[in-house]
């Protein structure tokens, strides 16, 4: 069973704005029937102001596809078209308190339906340039097509290259066999053969951060989530960084709250994206850690 957030469940069980919208003047039909999703987004736009007065959807898809559609309609109502187009798929996922990596494409479909509906309203033709493959890297949600395209475009020949360019394989490393298989296939196209142990391209190597730079980045990520935590009467504090383990303490209303695990998961994801490496976030009580680290 997927580990859906309460927000996803709520939007699936009680979808907002479902069904046909009478008098819609912008309609976007997008889908990927092979992966089991299709979505019609209907907008009623006020011509004078470009404001979206109402938005409805119909979705053929799984729980998170329906929840993403429902969330999207809520997010764009009352916005102008240009404001609405700024809603990214990550925004949709964030609105739902996150989606499992396998389900991020559901939010992508929502974003595409929005583009298609706006194009339809403006009398333009929208064409989809997004192709999606099987999910390879579950840590960073990178699919096969993305990896293939990147290998082709940059002449990559090692798993490390692929990780440097796409992040795929930079986490738990269980997808390395899958990445090697893609390398074998794509390298054969250019008459090359994959050799394990090929060093990564020099220029693609990440510059490597000093400890201080890393800690500053971590602080910056925590700073960015702090306002949201404070709004709920809580806070987060960085206690220590030990290699790939980041110790934090949750204080105030956040400590022991039901959403604590979910919140930390979201922060961990953000940190991984910023640091471009696999890290683990561990909630700890402030006192406990200082004693432990004094006693190696």
């Amino acid at each position: 069973m997927w580990d859906y957030s309460e927000k996803v469940k709520e939007h699936f069980f009680q979808p907002r704005n479902a069904g046909v919208l009478e008098g819609a003047n912008g309609v976007g039909d997008v889908g990927s029937i092979s992966c089991g999703d299709a979505l019609r987004l209907m907008l009623k736009v006020e011509p004078e102001t470009d404001i979206i007065l109402d938005a409805h959807f119909q979705t053929f898809g799984c729980g998170s596809a329906i929840a993403s559609s429902s969330a999207l309609t809520e997010m764009i109502k009352g916005k102008t078209l240009d404001e609405a187009l700024k809603v990214s798929n990550q925004d949709i996922a964030d609105y739902l308190d996150g989606l499992p990596p396998e389900k991020m494409h559901c939010s992508v479909m929502g974003r595409e339906a929005l583009q298609a509906a706006v194009a339809n309203y403006r009398g333009e033709v929208w064409s989809d340039d997004h192709e999606e493959g099987a999910l390879i890297c579950k840590c960073f949600a990178i699919d096969a097509v993305m990896i293939e395209d990147t290998i082709r475009a940059n002449n990559l020949s090692s798993v490390q290259d692929v990780t440097n360019y796409t992040k795929a394989g930079g986490g738990c490393s269980s997808c390395h066999e899958g990445i090697e298989e893609i390398l074998v296939k794509v390298m054969a196209e250019r008459g090359d053969s994959f050799k394990p142990g090929t060093p990564a391209k020099e220029e693609a190597k990440p510059a490597g951060m000093t400890n201080l730079q890393r800690i500053k980045k971590i602080e910056a990520v925590l700073e960015s989530v702090r306002p949201q935590l404070r709004r709920d009467g809580g806070d987060i504090e960085l206690l220590d960084v030990d290699g790939k383990t980041i110790y934090v303490s949750m204080t105030g209303a956040c400590a022991g709250c039901q959403m604590e695990a979910l919140t930390l998961q979201g922060i961990q994801q953000k940190l991984m994206e910023e640091l471009k490496e696999f890290i683990k976030i561990v909630p700890t009580k402030a006192g406990a850690l200082s004693r432990a680290s004094c006693n190696p």
């Binding site: 069980f13 039909d29 029937i33 092979s34 119909q58 595409e112 929208w126 989809d128």
Partner: protein, 399 residues
């Protein structure tokens, strides 16, 4: 756990009598059956008993034909890899497009090592073409691996006949029978089946134990080496508690065989007829006249399976689906695709699999709930309008 469990092809509850039989082997009878003292000896005898109970269920000629393993997947891998190792001059495998991933994924991996794998297609009811099969058999065929009953649709394959044909061509025959064992009377001694896989947890034994049946005289190359257990054919200290449990479960399956094929089948048929009568645009997948007595796989057009499962779960009903989204892959079930079921229906397939613990009241409840759920989701579907598919076909821009 309260609720209606109609997902017995995924796993079954361990029968309480099975648990009871197992319990002493955790504590008082904890010995290693290989040990030269009475702690070990008693456990050795318990394993011997379990082996005979499984022998009885499979209709095997000798108890030494029963090799205990850790699961159905291990049995499948062992059988296929052994057949290839034992006949290095033969480089081809024949299997079907609808096998369990335990076989298909292994075959795809073997292709990379230069083996030729033939995948027999199925028709729209999930049936194999035996003429096509005969053409593929040759002196190059090392092993044929065909499941006894399909896990998604329950459809039976004519494995007894196929084993004879393989035998005539000098090829080994393996069948993954994890869904069939306990539901179909077996008499392996009268067949040409060389190897057969069993999974304990599909027949009310615990998870983590399986069996490979290996007909006496069939050349064999072990997968796990390093010990004399299972006569050197599967090294590693025996999972004694689970083996004892599987023995007990096998004995109980023998007793319940008739019940599975009468009462469980009657409930399954009632469930199926009840749902089909109340839900328009739904149909049974697979071969309705030739399948497991407990399994029913229904395609609900124009809606998606995971959404159905989530709503069923809200009503405390457990089932499974062939939709892409339940597996984390992008493709719907390979079984549905192999039968040529259109995407709009393949994504909406739901498998209900009953057991001897299923009740009439549960069936009635599911029949009452399913039509509501389907109607609710169809209201959300862009393919649907009122009581049927939209007149003007919904044709989205596909990614």
């Amino acid at each position: 756990m309260e609720g209606i469990y109609f997902d017995n092809n995924a796993t079954t509850r361990v029968d309480e009598k099975v648990v009871e039989a197992m319990l002493p082997y955790f504590t008082e009878q904890f010995g290693n059956p290989s040990s030269m003292h009475s702690f070990g000896n008693k456990v050795g005898l318990a394993i011997k008993k379990a082996r005979m109970q499984v022998q009885e269920l499979l209709g095997a000629e000798h108890d030494s034909e029963i090799i205990f393993t850790s699961c159905g997947t291990e049995s499948d891998s062992t059988a296929i890899l052994s057949a290839l190792k034992a006949q290095p001059e033969r480089k081809e495998i024949i299997t079907t497009t609808v096998e369990h991933p335990a076989v298909l994924t292994l075959c795809a991996w073997l292709e990379k090592d230069g083996y030729k794998v033939h995948y027999l297609p199925v028709d729209n009811k999930g049936r194999l073409d035996l003429e096509e099969y005969k053409k593929l058999l040759s002196d190059q065929t090392a092993v044929v691996s065909v499941m006894w009953a399909n896990n998604e649709t329950g459809t039976f394959f004519p494995v007894v006949e196929m084993a004879e044909l393989a035998n005539a061509a000098g090829a080994m025959f393996h069948t993954d029978a994890v869904q069939a064992v306990g539901k179909v009377p077996l008499n392996l001694k009268d067949t040409k089946i060389d190897m057969l896989s069993v999974s304990g947890h599909k027949l009310h034994a615990p998870k983590g134990v399986g069996v490979l049946y290996l007909k006496r005289g069939v050349r064999f190359r072990p997968l796990l080496r390093g010990g004399h257990q299972e006569r050197g054919r599967r090294a590693g200290t025996e999972n004694t508690t689970s083996i004892v449990g599987l023995g007990k479960a096998a004995e109980m399956a023998m007793e319940a065989m008739a019940f599975e094929n009468t009462e469980v089948k009657r409930l399954r048929d009632k469930l199926e007829a009840g749902i089909l009568a109340k839900v328009p645009r739904s149909f049974v997948t697979g071969d309705p006249d030739n399948r497991l007595p407990n399994t029913c796989n229904i395609a609900f057009e124009f809606i998606e399976g995971e959404a159905i499962l989530l709503l069923l779960n809200k009503f405390g009903i457990a089932a499974s689906s062939g939709s892409a989204c339940t597996s984390g892959s992008l493709e719907p079930s390979h079984v549905m695709r192999a039968m040529g079921i259109p995407y709009t229906a393949a994504h909406g397939t739901v498998r209900f699999s009953l057991s001897r613990y299923s009740t009439e009241a549960e069936v009635d409840r599911v029949i009452a709930v399913v039509p509501e759920i389907i109607a609710q989701l169809r209201k959300l579907s862009p393919y649907w309008e009122g009581d049927g598919p939209k007149e003007e076909a919904f044709a989205p821009v596909y990614a």
